[in-house]
């Protein structure tokens, strides 16, 4: 699908469609990322990578619940030094921008990992300051505006590529956090990461996830994510990437009307496979044509008029 209508500029990145693979989904190997891109994704985000290798949590790491998944995978990754190889391999075969998702246990760590990812060829960095299930990183950084600002400043000072900040919905006021990130130099905001959740098996009377608590994704959180994007749009002037339960083109359009310049898709890949991108992109294009819009940019934030 190659339509002029669908092209977007996102903080300096040129996207052929306003869709991206969300972080944590597939995202290790060049071939899987390529497969997603060939299905129409405008950009792909890698799994989160940190300074050192991490094996993540014991299974169960994913539980299927009504209208969503709860996961506590625990940020497994080979560490940035090994992951640069995967980034280089992916860059060699990808025709769309590659965004490296980065986490750290300090501002310094975020900076070092981001630098190495950009050196390896990442076109942009997405800061994971919102993982709800690993202590001393992720949401523990993204819930505190001052700590978050420090991380963003450090990373921005070290890399010359766009820096996205992926926010947690598990805060009192997400737009306040978004504003802090933008003041510190964030080029775009990704909203949202998963919503803190858990599931308990009633026969064994135990939490199912080995980490007990995890993050809820999928259609269950879409209305929360749409509201977050709408709130953030009122507060900041950088592009917003909507994320949370996008399963159809209608969901994508809804996010864009709320103020998202693009959407990320994650959980739906489990249901529909990588071809989900194809159907979402086609659906958006048809919607734009039928409604008489010349560009997808024209619908971003349209719901704020009323």
């Amino acid at each position: 699908m190659n339509s002029e209508r669908l092209k977007v500029e996102l903080a300096g990145l040129s996207l052929v469609s306003p869709t991206m693979l969300a972080s944590g989904i597939l995202g290790y190997s060049a071939e899987t990322l390529k497969n997603v891109a060939e299905n129409g994704a405008g950009a792909v985000v890698t799994k989160s990578v940190g300074l050192k290798p991490r094996s993540g949590y014991a299974n169960p790491t994913v539980v299927h619940v009504a209208c969503g998944l709860i996961n506590a995978v625990g940020l497994p990754n080979p560490g940035i030094d090994e992951f640069t190889r995967d980034i280089k391999e992916a860059k060699a075969v990808l025709k769309v921008p590659l965004v490296a998702s980065v986490y750290g246990f300090s501002a310094e760590e975020y900076m070092v990992v981001a630098e190495k990812a950009v050196e390896a060829g990442a076109d942009a960095i997405e800061l994971n300051v919102s993982c709800p299930h690993v202590k001393e990183t992720g949401a523990e950084i993204g819930q505190n505006p001052n700590v978050l600002a420090e991380v963003v400043r450090k990373v921005k000072g070290a890399v010359d590529k766009p820096v996205f900040v992926k926010l947690s919905p598990n805060v009192a006021d997400i737009s306040e956090i978004a504003e802090a990130a933008v003041k510190a130099g964030a080029d775009a905001i990704t909203a949202i990461n998963t919503v803190k959740a858990m599931a308990i098996d009633i026969e064994t009377t135990r939490p199912i996830l080995s980490n007990k608590r995890g993050g809820l994704s999928g259609p269950a959180i879409k209305p929360i994510a749409v509201r977050c994007v709408y709130d953030i749009y009122e507060r900041v002037r950088v592009p917003i990437i909507g994320c949370g339960g996008v399963t159809s083109w209608q969901d994508a359009v809804e996010f864009m009307l709320a103020g998202a310049s693009a959407v990320q898709i994650g959980t739906a890949v489990a249901l529909k496979g990588p071809s989900i991108f194809r159907s979402v992109v086609r659906g958006i294009d048809t919607y734009l044509r039928k409604k008489g819009f010349r560009s997808v940019k024209e619908i971003v934030g349209l719901a704020h008029r009323s």
């Binding site: 290790y28 899987t32 497994p76 259609p219 399963t247």
Partner: protein, 275 residues
């Protein structure tokens, strides 16, 4: 949204109805689960050992009428040891069945299983017997004779003479590797399809052998499994997800990942490690 109603993905608690010692390291566990009892040979399930781990297991047998399912578990680590210590009546959790299963080709089939990898092939042999295909030959391999499993059942299903064994120490059957025995079997007889499951160095040799003889083949692969529903990326080989696109791959798919198949895989960190 109907995809959210996919029952197989949901966690179910069930009780162990039977646990049977098969060899010094292998036990079978039988439990009730209507969904898994509908599984096809080659599919797998995720079994939760409460408080310990959740592991992928290929399906060894089903009883569709009674809704029963059996898995064969080799004691290899903490999770399988904890499962071996569990008894009839204990609660476990189940998700699945997942994955694609073997494809039936008709004609003459050759099954090659190494170690506990013979379990899903025993299930396949049972289905092939029902379908009355003309001939099924089985090659079973293990380190020692004591670790050869399901021999009697395979002989009942495929005929005494059609079950051939190889052991590394020569304590039963031919001394040597199952893959070597497979090669000599394929030299003597032309098959329509080869199905294999076991250690990857073995399945790789079997697939290479099938390619040389121009025979259709499928192999069951194993990788680190987490979500089992195709999103976490832990189990990829090339552009394939073993949990969704596999675990059974055909000879053409495996040719496309020949730099990975039998060569390297990712560990729990996602790091590449040699096989």
């Amino acid at each position: 949204m109907s995809a959210w109603l996919i029952a197989a993905n949901k966690h179910r608690a069930t009780r162990i109805l039977d646990a049977e010692v098969i060899s010094p390291t292998v036990k079978t566990f039988t439990f009730k689960d209507k969904l898994c009892a509908k599984a096809k040979p080659g599919q797998f399930l995720m079994l939760w050992i409460p408080g310990v781990d959740e592991i992928p297991l290929s399906i060894y047998d089903v009883n569709r009428e009674k809704g029963l399912i059996s898995v064969a578990v080799k004691r290899v680590g903490e999770a399988t040891k904890a499962l071996h210590d569990m008894k009839t009546g204990d609660w476990i959790g189940v998700r699945g069945p997942f994955g694609n299963g073997f494809t039936f080709k008709g004609g003459k089939a050759l099954l090659v299983g190494g170690g506990v990898g013979i379990a899903p092939l025993t299930f396949l042999a049972k289905e092939l017997a029902v379908q009355k295909i003309s001939r099924t030959v089985v090659v079973v391999g293990a380190k020692t004779g004591k670790e050869l499993i399901f021999l009697d059942k395979l002989k009942r299903l495929c005929g005494e003479k059609n079950v051939l064994a190889a052991t590394e120490d020569g304590s039963y059957g031919v001394k040597g590797l199952a893959s070597t025995l497979t090669e000599s079997v394929m030299t003597k007889e032309k098959f329509d399809a080869v199905y294999t499951c076991g250690p990857e160095p073995m399945t790789r040799v079997v697939l290479d052998c099938a390619e040389r003889f121009g025979v259709y083949a499928e192999a069951s692969l194993e990788r680190i499994m987490r979500c089992a529903i195709g999103i976490c990326g832990s189990c990829t080989i090339g552009g394939y997800r073993v949990c969704r696109d596999g675990p059974i791959f055909n000879i053409n798919q495996l040719k496309s990942v020949k730099n990975e198949f039998g060569v390297w895989k990712r560990d729990f960190n996602g790091r590449r490690i040699p096989i």
